[in-house]
């Protein structure tokens, strides 16, 4: 058996979540910690997100991805955090034993006092869509194309169709255009885009790229390389309507069709997951069903803004530090449930007694509506807004005094506007 290294805290992932968790844990007094990162540099997906718009909440500035990451990396260096790059974690078990491998150190096994899961998410690939057609070259996820262009200096193609209008797809429509490609269309299955209006305007409208809502790609043609795709309108049942075919001659198809938390390691550790978020079930300390194992950032639930990832991960780092000091609160937890019009509320359980912020997504677009938190018919918190959309996560704070004495399950639901 390999030598086992004792470590107070092992953080898996050196993106914005892992960095923030490490910084917060060290600031809370955890000396003996390591961050394991599989890429050759820390920073995660921010390294390839060269556009601006990061950090508005946290810094009041619109930084680019590399600039945002650099601030956390600088702070981590200042604190002397041990970040092991080029290190891939192979497994985590329920006793918090973390096995990893790297060229420099070979196989290493850590016995951790606490673990923070911060592995982020990955893109839904072509195989998950069931789109018919040939298996030719020229089909990439938007993030893979972003990595080629921004980190490798390579252009994936010249004539591009983008399937999906999530923010990464929109950002890549602009990037490909600016770098000299012709983006023919952005195609969205739903009758609305899940991307920010800002990105629809500044990435599509600015460059006269048409957005086909309620459309999808129904055929992919090409022998060696992609030669063209067929796009069709879909009905309310999301099935293609015959006779609506539009043909595009293109050499590249980019997919921006959703992100999935990367939880293979968590599952093997025995961490309970929920289909609502594809992430772990956590309490208000961000502790999973496995004691001493915490989760934060996009591995827990896919965020829209890195600012909220950082904020959540600072909390996970502090909670892990408290766990190591034996100060994690015990006692009864109350379940938090998704009510009408609400999906993926995090945390899924909490211990009444502290302020807590519930995060969730509305299931549809709600105008002039409220999000309501209640337990046993008693309202605990409410947030009103002119608009709620599935593309924007809602953060709803609930005060400790409101939670005092709550024993029944807590429900979060949307309440449509009352019409006169």
């Amino acid at each position: 058996m390999d030598k086992i290294i004792q470590k107070d805290l092992v953080i898996i992932g050196g993106g914005p979540a892992g960095l923030a968790a490490g910084i917060a844990a060290r600031e809370a007094g955890v000396e003996d910690l390591v961050i394991l990162e599989r890429e050759h540099q820390a920073g995660g997906i921010l390294r390839q997100c060269i556009h601006n718009g990061f950090g508005l909440h946290r810094y009041g500035e619109e930084l680019t991805g590399p600039e945002y990451a650099a601030r956390d990396i600088a702070r981590a260096e200042e604190l002397g955090l041990d970040i092991r790059c080029d290190t891939t974690v192979l497994s985590v078990d329920g006793d918090r034993r973390v096995t990893c491998v790297s060229k420099a150190d070979g196989l290493t096994v850590y016995q951790a006092g606490a673990v923070v899961l911060a592995m982020g998410c990955r893109e839904r690939p072509r195989g998950a869509l069931g789109t018919p057609g040939t298996r030719c070259a020229g089909i990439y996820t938007a993030g893979a194309a972003q990595k080629f262009v921004n980190l490798e200096g390579l252009m994936p193609g010249k004539r591009v169709v983008i399937l999906g209008s999530g923010d990464i797809g929109l950002i890549m429509a602009r990037r490909m255009t600016l770098q000299g490609a012709k983006v023919l269309a952005c195609v969205e299955l739903m009758p609305f885009s899940s991307g920010l209006n800002r990105n629809i305007v500044q990435c599509l409208h600015d460059y006269d790229i048409p957005l086909y809502l309620s459309h999808t790609v129904t055929d992919i043609r090409g022998r060696e390389r992609l030669e063209g795709v067929t796009v069709m309108r879909v009905g309310p049942d999301r099935k293609p309507i015959p006779g609506t075919e539009i043909e595009f001659d293109c050499d590249t198809l980019l997919l921006s069709v959703g992100l999935i938390p990367e939880n293979e390691l968590s599952q093997r550790a025995g961490v309970a997951l929920t289909p609502a978020t594809s992430g772990a079930v956590v309490d208000d300390d961000l502790q999973t069903s496995v004691p001493g194992v915490f989760a934060c950032g996009n591995v827990l639930h896919v965020h829209d803004l890195v600012d909220f990832v950082s904020d959540e991960s600072f909390r996970a780092g502090r909670a892990a530090a408290a766990f190591l000091r034996g100060e994690t609160p015990t006692g009864e937890t109350v379940e938090v449930r998704d009510g009408e019009g609400v999906r993926g509320t995090v945390p899924q359980r909490l211990r009444p007694g502290r302020d807590v912020t519930l995060m969730f997504r509305p299931a549809a677009v709600y105008q002039n509506a409220s999000a309501v938190v209640e337990s046993d018919g008693v309202e605990l918190a409410r947030k009103r807004a002119l608009v709620f959309t599935p593309g924007e996560m809602v953060a709803l704070p609930v005060k400790a005094e409101k939670l005092a004495g709550v024993h029944a399950p807590i429900t979060v639901r949307m309440e449509a506007a009352k019409h006169d």
């Binding site: 556009h51 680019t64 490798e152 770098q179 920010l196 209006n197 629809i200 305007v201 002119l386 608009v387």
Partner: protein, 119 residues
Amino acid sequence: MTERVITCINCPMGCRMTVSLNDAGEVVSVTGNTCKRGEKYAHQEVTAPVRMVTAVVPVAGSVCPLSVKTREPIPKGKIFDCMAALRELKLNAPIRAGETVLPDVCGTGIDVIATRSVG
């Protein structure tokens, strides 16, 4: 008298606003907005639209290209000129984040700066 329809970018509402301009190109009215921020954005957007430009440029001796941005937003009409100017750029490492790599891009008075360090 001309009209332009634009989408507000300030919040997820995405109000579709109609802006009326007189023959001198001055804004006469904005309709369709829900709040004051929309009106302000409409004025800016139809009279002097600006955009941040971010890009990557090659650096001699570095495998990875360097990410750069305009220090401030530049006039929207200058975006492609800015990209063309960046393509002509010949850079050598080391470069520090925040360093100017192209001063006064396309006569805008705005510098293009590095957003990460290389070398």
